[in-house]
Amino acid sequence: MIALLLRDLKLAFRAGGGFGLGLAFFLIVTVMVPFAVGPQSSLLSTIAPGVLWLGALLACLLSLDRLLALDWEDGSLDLLATAPLPLEAAVSIKALAHWLTTGLPLVLAAPFLGVLLNLPVPGFFWLVMSLLIGTPAMSVIGTFGAALTVGLKRGGLLLSLLVLPLYVPTLIFGAEVARRGATGMETQTPLLMLAGITAATIALLPFASAAVLRINLR
């Protein structure tokens, strides 16, 4: 299991794709926002938590189609399916590798981008906190979407269409935590809901992803 994780991480770094690309996308979306809505700092600080969450979500989405596609093409997915390691575990490892290479950098970059958008000071902690709790769910849900569309030649757009509605609850609660945190309101309820969603998806969704992957490998 650890070998698989290390292999995925190594591949992600070497290919250079997912790792830098997601971050660059996050940066560029954040930079474009003031151009679109105007430079008033009060407006920017109001929308900052939501924009940062949406940017992180889109950056995550962007890297999903590479999650399984490479392994599918070179046949290592078939090997994984026949390996003694249960496919559910393999899928979870894949999601974990995706989170480590995409989700975690996004979380770490978010506060710096928050400065650009004039995020209120109490918001920084809650932004990082909510992203830290929310991004694993995005990786796990994304793995499910990637497993659904893995056999398709042009699955990228379809993948977005399938995954985005599934991201709705995570986005709502996550952005709510960040927004409430930024305005100094209590954040416990949405934070708990967010954590609940993440825990439930991590516990249950790998089974669906593995089932879907088995169908696709049939």
């Binding site: 659904l148 569309t149 269409l161 709705v168």
Partner: protein, 257 residues
């Protein structure tokens, strides 16, 4: 071919046949009954009910809005059930019925959204309000789109049936989750504003005040839309079965010829 395989093939074959024969027999009844009910209900509602004292004549939109909204949700439920049946029993008709139902669900959701927006314009002063109910329907609409797109994208029919079924199951859970999330989200924004409106959308407030006048034609419309849904599903499932058979025949022709 072994006996077991033969029996299996027969089972697979005979059932769609039986489905086609049965649906052919009952379909005329459903078509006539559904269209009759909808016409009667709509005409009754449109021409022979008084205006609501608060909402004026816009209350007449209820005869379209409520039945389609109901069917939009019931259609997804039906797809959920047929998907489960497919996954457990490998019943081909079941998977095809789910596929046949999805576009109907899209249209029903669309009608509910459009009539809701048109209704909301004079009542709330805006075409679109991020009210929990409206938002959930929009999300439901997105789920339908994804489901249909996945069916269209996959070549092999059995794989497509399996994958869409799993998507339907997972999607149901997330749709339900979104419903609660959206409720929470909007209350967080502006408290209490939607409480007053919820009654206006579901028609519960009109029922309480002047129940019978609006209620009977509404009931007839709902029955009509349910019948129309059944007719459409039966008809479209028949189409899917035939399309599937063409594919199988052509494949056999290629192999044989």
């Amino acid at each position: 071919m072994s006996i077991a395989a033969k029996a299996n093939a027969l089972w697979e074959y005979a059932n769609p046949r039986k489905f086609l024969a049965t649906s052919e027999r009952v379909l005329p009844f459903f078509w006539v009954a559904s269209i009759a009910c909808i016409v009667v209900g709509l005409v009754w509602g449109f021409f022979f009910t008084p205006d609501d004292y608060k909402q004026g004549s816009t209350v007449k939109i209820i005869y379209l809005h409520v039945p389609t909204a109901l069917m939009a949700i019931n259609c997804w439920l039906m797809m959920l059930v047929t998907s489960l049946v497919w996954l457990v029993r490998r019943h081909h008709v079941s998977a095809l019925a789910a596929r046949a139902a999805a576009p109907i669900g899209i249209v029903m959701t669309l009608i509910a959204l459009v009539t809701g927006a048109i209704w909301g314009q004079p009542m709330w002063g805006t075409w679109w309000e991020w009210d929990p109910r409206l938002t959930s329907f929009l999300i439901l609409f997105l789920f339908y789109l994804g489901y249909v797109a996945l069916w269209e994208a996959i070549e092999d029919p059995d794989t497509a049936a399996d994958l869409t079924s799993v998507l339907c199951l997972v999607g149901s859970v997330f749709a339900l989750l979104s419903r609660y999330a959206v409720n929470f989200w909007n209350q967080g924004l502006h408290q209490g504003a939607s409480v007053m409106r919820a009654g206006a959308i579901t028609g519960t407030d009109t029922e309480e005040k002047v129940s019978n006048v609006f209620f009977y034609p509404l009931m007839i419309c709902i029955i009509g839309f349910v019948l129309l849904f059944i007719a459409l599903v039966l008809y479209r499932t028949g189409t899917e079965i035939r399309a599937r058979r063409i594919k199988a025949l052509l494949a056999r022709e290629r192999v044989g010829g």
